[in-house]
């Protein structure tokens, strides 16, 4: 039992890949490096797919990327509604990044969303976007007033919500990915063949995509709510 928990703890640790020798050494984590790899992959795929676009006689590649872009824009546009259309690119980007980073566990790479710091950063980006969307739409005076809606009594609740929204967003994503990772590691230790492959389909593919969807869904729901 002690050996098992030691092995599990070793797997769960977020490793430092290398240290930048600046300002007394900046540690670069595994999750940051994996995020860079995902960014590079997305950049290469985007450049490849968008090269040589034509108005007449589009090639197969162009049709493929066009239908994908339309699909994802419809998906996020439906969630955001007509009034918040300008946030579609951001939400789509987050959806693609989260989708890839959640299912990357299939290739035996540790998913970056397993690191609490990554999900905290994403949730902070979300809450800043939500509040700044409200500020832009309503103007400073109305924005401050909106905290006292529907009654002045609930103002503390509304202020508390500023902290609760990002907390539950980041904890939900982190908790799901982390729990899936722990269960997969435990199963791999107990039964090394066949069973992990079947469970991987559920935990990595299905659950990962659902959680990516839920994250952007809740973010766009909050945006929609904030600019009403």
């Amino acid at each position: 039992m002690g050996e098992l928990s030691a092995r599990l703890q070793e797997e769960l640790e977020i490793k430092t890949v290398f240290t930048i020798p600046l300002f007394g050494g900046i540690d670069v984590n595994q999750s940051v490096v994996v995020t860079w790899c995902i960014m590079a992959l997305l950049l290469v795929v985007t450049l490849f797919m968008t090269s040589g676009m034509k108005v007449k006689n589009p090639g197969r590649r162009q049709l493929m990327i066009e239908s994908f872009v339309v699909w994802i824009q419809n998906l996020t546009g439906d969630m955001l509604g007509e009034e918040a259309k300008q946030y579609v690119p951001y939400i789509s980007t987050i959806l693609i990044y989260l989708g890839i980073s959640n299912i990357i566990g299939i290739f035996n790479i540790s998913p970056p969303t397993r690191d609490l710091r990554v999900t905290i950063a994403l949730a902070l980006m979300s809450i800043v976007l939500i509040e700044s969307a409200a500020l832009r739409k309503k103007g400073p005076k109305k924005f401050l007033k909106s905290f006292a809606e529907p009654m002045a009594v609930v103002a503390p609740m509304n202020v508390l919500e500023l902290g609760i929204k990002p907390l539950s967003l980041c904890m939900r994503l982190f908790g799901n990915v982390f729990a899936a990772f722990v269960i997969m590691e435990l199963v791999k230790m107990a039964v090394p063949i066949v069973l992990p492959a079947a469970l991987c389909l559920y935990f990595d593919l299905f659950d990962g995509l659902i959680q990516a969807y839920v994250f952007v869904f809740l973010t766009s729901l909050y945006i929609k709510e904030a600019i009403e």
């Binding site: 539950s168 904890m171 939900r172 908790g175 729990a179 659902i210 839920v214 809740l218």
Partner: protein, 73 residues
């Protein structure tokens, strides 16, 4: 060590609430789709949202369990 293990086990009880909640939500969603198959897309969306919110309690339980195991040794 054994007492912290019991504590983590108690924290895992939060799973009951999430399980019951998601179960009820899914049952109602199945009911609704059976009655109105054309509203499937909308029902699916609301179901996902409800499941995500119901699941949050289980995730908090998991979080407390992890904190207990790693920090109360």
């Amino acid at each position: 060590m054994s007492l912290t293990a019991i504590g983590a086990g108690i924290a895992a009880i939060t799973g009951i609430g999430a399980g019951v909640g998601i179960g009820i939500a899914t049952a109602k969603a199945v009911d609704a789709v059976a009655r109105q198959p054309e509203a499937e897309g909308k029902i699916m969306k609301i179901l996902l949202l409800g499941c995500a919110l119901a699941e949050a309690t289980a995730i908090y339980g998991l979080l407390i369990g992890i904190l207990i195991v790693f920090f109360l040794q």
